[in-house]
């Protein structure tokens, strides 16, 4: 368990450093960086490389935005196994739904309760 926390810290931190390097050295905007990282997550999932990383680093791999791309692919593949190629489309949000629905729900609640600053 202690090892899990340690590796979550290291791997999670390293993924953020990659993002920082893309912004500082690659001179990308945050929007470009995050889009690129999501795509990278999806591609890694395509080569079955992201799942072992989650086994190894736990939240260090599931909390960074790269895992969004991974879980989209995972959801699509799960459905594709059941329903063939149509499943790719229908299963897309099977696994990811919580991140987006949470963002929508809490975004709306936030807008109800908080006032804009500055």
């Amino acid at each position: 368990m202690i090892a899990m926390f340690f590796w979550a810290f290291v791997i999670g931190g390293l993924i953020c450093v990659i993002g920082q390097l893309m912004m500082d050295i690659g001179k990308l905007t945050p929007g470009h960086t995050l889009s690129a990282m999501v795509t990278a997550g999806a591609v890694l999932a395509g080569f079955d490389l992201y799942e072992p990383l989650i086994d190894f680093a736990g939240a260090g791999a599931t909390i960074p935005i790269t895992s969004f791309g991974n879980s989209l692919v995972t959801g699509a593949m799960q459905e594709a196994e059941k329903h063939g190629i149509v499943g790719v489309l229908t299963g897309m949000f099977e696994v990811t739904s919580s991140g987006i629905s949470a963002a929508i729900v809490f975004g709306f609640i936030g807008a109800l309760f908080f006032k804009p600053k500055g």
Partner: protein, 143 residues
């Protein structure tokens, strides 16, 4: 002035980015957010009926909830100035992008303001995520 000279001049006067310092900051703040996420997921495993396999969803939802509180009180933006990618790359940064856009545009009304602008910043992440996942999954399921 020759073309290209301006760019050269501009880049000369642009403040140099302290890359190493930024990276160290991004490393430990990003790492810390992931450690919090790990603690949250163990919490759900201990006290609720979640396995490691299923714990991802509630953990992410809880992290976005934390992000809402921090964004609403203006704390997340301050963390962001310090941490750079360290706070933008974790899912809390995604939450922050959605929530801050929602809060910022509420004066324009809930439908056009909040509804229309919520995904202004996060939309590209969803677009490229979904599209690349579609391509990857399509290739994978064909071969």
């Amino acid at each position: 002035m020759k073309p290209g000279l301006y760019k050269k001049l501009a880049s000369k006067y642009e403040p140099k980015r302290p890359v190493l310092k930024n990276c160290i900051r991004a490393f430990w703040t990003g790492g810390l957010i992931c450690v919090i996420g790990q603690a949250v997921s163990y919490f759900f495993i201990f006290f609720f009926n979640f396995t490691e396999q299923t714990v991802g969803n509630p953990t992410v939802a809880f992290m976005v909830f934390l992000s809402m509180l921090l964004t609403g009180f203006g704390i997340y933006d301050r963390i962001g100035q310090f941490a750079g990618a360290g706070s933008a790359v974790p899912v809390t940064g995604f939450g922050n992008a959605v929530i801050s856009a929602a809060i910022e545009h509420r004066t324009e009304g809930f439908v056009l303001g909040v509804g229309g602008n919520m995904f202004k910043l996060a939309g590209s992440v969803i677009l490229f995520g979904v599209f690349s996942a579609f391509i990857v999954a399509l290739i994978k399921s064909v071969f």
